[in-house]
Symmetry: C2
Subunit: 147 residues, 2 copies
């Protein structure tokens, strides 16, 4: 999770078919999704958008604080619409990608105290939790992992 700038009003933000489509698909994905997956979902849904535009839109959403971003283990960026203002921390299933917001006040306080005691300025933090959700945990009866 990047502890990044808050949303600021766009001086000039044109509404286009492509941006609307990216936002729609993004909000249809409950969990963290990559640019490539969004691009494929757009194509599959009939509202094709160039991959470049997907990236540019996501970057703009990131800058304005309207999506949260994590990196998966391979380094790929994954996006999820931000539920409210202020940054969140997530616990993400390594198998199926299911994500849930976790309470992280303790981490915020810890980060603040580190910032206050080290002489470093503009301290930002990244906290990511991964695990295996109970749907994906191995069972006596080995069903396929849920999609």
């Amino acid at each position: 999770m990047q502890d990044s700038a808050a949303a600021e009003p766009q001086p000039d933000w044109r509404s286009t078919r492509q941006r609307a489509a990216v936002l729609r698909v993004l909000h249809d994905c409950p969990d963290f999704t990559s640019a490539r997956e969004l691009h494929e979902a757009l194509a599959a849904g009939g509202s094709a958008v160039g991959l470049t535009t997907v990236y540019r839109t996501l970057r703009m959403l990131e800058r304005t604080g309207r999506v949260d971003v994590v990196r998966d283990r391979s380094g790929e960026r994954l996006y999820r619409p931000r539920p409210t203002d202020g940054h969140r921390h997530y616990l993400v299933c390594r198998r199926c990608g299911l994500s849930r917001v976790v309470e992280a006040d303790a981490v915020e306080r810890w980060a603040d105290s580190v910032a206050a005691t080290t002489g470093f300025a503009e301290v930002e933090h990244t906290v990511e939790l991964t695990g295996v959700c109970d749907h994906c945990q191995p069972r006596p009866d080995p069903e396929s992992p849920h999609p």
Copy 2:
């Protein structure tokens, strides 16, 4: 910081000039260093090692828990010899790369409690702090940032 597996004995680990050179240069770098930088340092030091071998050696060190790894903002992997067993968390200067280990018991406890209350198994955490160290902070007299 990856909360990854501990070191395990290598069944078969040949000692070569290249691996020794990578280890030596890695331990000469006090702070997080990229594969490319290590490769350049090796070449500059006269003990040239292929970039592929640098990557392979670092990956092996990562697997066996002998280096800590962070990702910089561009996603590049940076390596640093692990000071002791168990994983560490670092505060890294965004300007000069200076890193220092920070105490993170509070984060460990928080991660444990999240793991215990969510139904997720094998919970791992990544915590990275970045900031601007006091050497690199803007001053009345604008000297060049120290190298």
